[in-house]
C-alpha cells in the first residue's frame, strides 16, 4: 500500500516534470500553468477516487502531450509525461480499490498489479525511446494504411477476446 502511494505521487510529479520540461524546452512558457492542471487534478482525484477526476487528468495530460508534439516540442519528454500520467492514473485507481476493498490477499493483488504495470510502462518507455532514436519517414498513404490496420487489429483482438470468454 505504501509502495503504491509512493509510486502514485512519484508518477504524478514525474508527469508534471516531463510536461513542464517538454514545454519549457520548446519555449512555451505560457503552457506551463496549463501543464500543472492534470497533476493538480490527479492529486485531487486521490481524495475522490471514484469520481471521473483520474480519467479527466489522464485525458488532459495526453491532450497536452499531443498538442505539445503538434506544436513542435520535443516528443520524447512529452511522451514520457503521457506514460507517467497513464501510470499515475492506474496507480490512483489501484490505491482506491486497495483502500475501499481491503482485499484478503492484498500483497499478492498489489504485487501482480505493480509487476504488470511495470511491464507495460517499461515496454512503453522502450518503444518511445526507440521512436525518438530511430527516424524514418513513411509515405502518408502507408501511414494511413498502417493506422487502419492497427485499428482493425485492435478491434478484432478485443472482439475475439470478449467472444472467446
Amino acid at each position: 500500500m505504501i509502495i503504491t502511494r509512493a509510486l502514485t505521487i512519484t508518477c504524478i510529479l514525474a508527469s508534471l516534470a516531463c510536461l513542464l520540461g517538454g514545454f519549457a524546452a520548446a519555449g512555451y512558457w505560457m503552457a506551463a500553468p496549463v501543464a500543472v492542471a492534470p497533476a493538480l487534478i490527479m492529486l485531487l482525484a486521490r481524495k475522490f477516487p471514484s469520481s471521473w477526476l483520474p480519467t479527466t487528468s489522464l485525458i488532459l495530460s495526453t491532450c497536452l502531450a499531443a498538442v505539445g508534439i503538434l506544436s513542435g516540442a520535443r516528443p520524447f519528454l512529452l511522451a514520457l509525461g503521457a506514460i507517467t500520467a497513464l501510470a499515475s492514473w492506474d496507480l490512483a485507481l489501484l490505491e482506491n480499490s486497495l483502500e475501499a476493498g481491503q482485499p484478503q490477499h492484498a500483497g499478492l493483488f498489489e504485487n501482480r498489479h505493480l509487476k504488470s504495470l511495470g511491464l507495460a510502462i517499461g515496454l512503453g518507455l522502450v518503444v518511445v525511446g526507440a521512436g525518438s532514436a530511430i527516424h524514418f519517414s513513411l509515405p502518408f498513404g502507408v501511414l494511413v494504411l498502417l493506422v487502419i490496420f492497427i485499428l482493425i487489429c485492435l478491434d478484432r483482438l478485443v472482439d475475439a477476446r470478449v467472444h472467446q470468454r
Binding site: A66, I69, A79, S116, G124, G131, L146, L154, R165
Partner: protein, 428 residues
Amino acid sequence: MNHKTITLLLIIWGLLLAALLARNSDLAWLALPFFIYLGTGLWQAPMSNSLRLQATRTVKRTAPQGENAREIEVQVTVSNQGSPIGNLYLKDVLPNEAKITAGRASQRTALPGRADALLSYSIQEKRGSFGWETIRAVASDPFGLFDLEVALPAREGVQVQPEYGQYRRLPLRPRGTLHSPGSIPARLGGNGTDFWGVREYHAGDSLRWLDWRLTARHPQHIFTKEFEQEEIADVGLILDARQKTDVQRLAGGDSLFEHAVSAAASIAEAFLHEGHRMSLLAVNGNAKAVFPGYGKVQLNRMMRLLSQIKTGSNSQADSLEFLPLHMFSSHALLVVISSLTQNDWALFPRLRACNYQVLLISPNPFDFVSQMFGQDSVSRLAIRASRLERLLLLRDIAQLLIPVIDWHVDQPLYPLIRQALNQSFVRE
C-alpha cells in the same frame, strides 16, 4: 467493456486519428504505450475455460431463534481450483430489504491457485424466509480492463422466526381435555396428585391407594382412593392476517400485524412447551393451517407458517364469519388474535354455538397509531367515534362469555392472558 477500457480505446483512437489528420508520426508513436498497456491487460485476462471457482456459503444466526434472532451471519468461501487470478471482484446478492450491519458483501482481491477468499458479513432481516442463490464473481486482468463475469452457485436459505417471549405457565382450565397425561386437571378420577374421591375397589387397583378407614367402617367392602387425572388441552390459534386489520406506524415502519404474529408465536411456544396439542389457522384472504400436533415438531411447523405469513386480502372471503372450523376439535380452546372490524362480530356467536371455549386477544389499532392522528376537532371526533365503536364491539363479544383482551401492544401480554383466563374460570 468497462470504463477503463473505453477510456484507453478512446485515447488510442483519438491519437491515431490526430496523427492521420496532422500527418504527424510522433502522435502515432504516442499511442503505442497505451496500446501496450491495453495489450498487457488483454494478455493476462482470464479465460472462461481456465476459471475454476467454487463457492460455499454458511449462514448462521448470532442468537437463538426468537430472541433477537434477526441478525444473520453470512460467510461465503470462494475457492480457486484453477490458475491464479490477479483481480477478482466478489459481490454477494443480498435478499430483499436486507441491511448489512457488519462486514462487507463485496470485495476485490487476488486469488492464487488452490486458495480461498472469504466474504463475511452480517445482515439484519425482518421476519420471513430468505434465500441466496448465487454469488457474482468478476475475474479480470490485473489492470481490471477485461472482465469475465460468472455467477457461482451458493445456495442457502434461512428462516427468520418472529420474536417471541418465554411465557411462564398459563392457567388453563378447559372444559374438555385430551386423554393423554398432561398438566391440566381433567375433572376425572384416575391417576394424579389431587384427591378426587373414593370408589369401590376394582380388581387390579393398587393396594397403596386403598382407603383403609372407609374399608374398616364397611365390612365386606373395600374402597380405593381416586385422584384427579391430569391431561393435556387442545388449543387452536386463529390469527387474523387480513390486510384491512393491519395498520403501520409511519416512523420505523412498525406493523400491528407483527405484534400479533409475535403474540401467536409466544402463545404457541408456551402451550406446546407444556405439552398441549396445538393447531394454527392463519387467515389472510386464504386460510393457511397447521393441523393439530404436539411437541417441537409442531412448534417448528407453526413457526414456519408464522415466519412466512404475510397480510393479504381476498374480496370473496373478507370476513372471519365463514372460517373453516372443522380442523379444531369440538372441545378445543380457541385463541383468536385479531384487531377486528365491525363485520367480524358474527364469528363469535358461531364459535359459541359450536361450543368452543374462546379467548379473544385484540391488538388495539387506535392506540398503536395514535401519534399519527390529526389534532383538529374533526379528526379527534372521528377517532373518538371509532374507539367507541370498537369498545361496543368488544363489549358485545364479552357478553357471549368470551374473555376479551383489548391489548395495547406496548404492554406485556402475558399478565393480560393470565388475568383473562383466571377471570373466565371464576365466571364459569
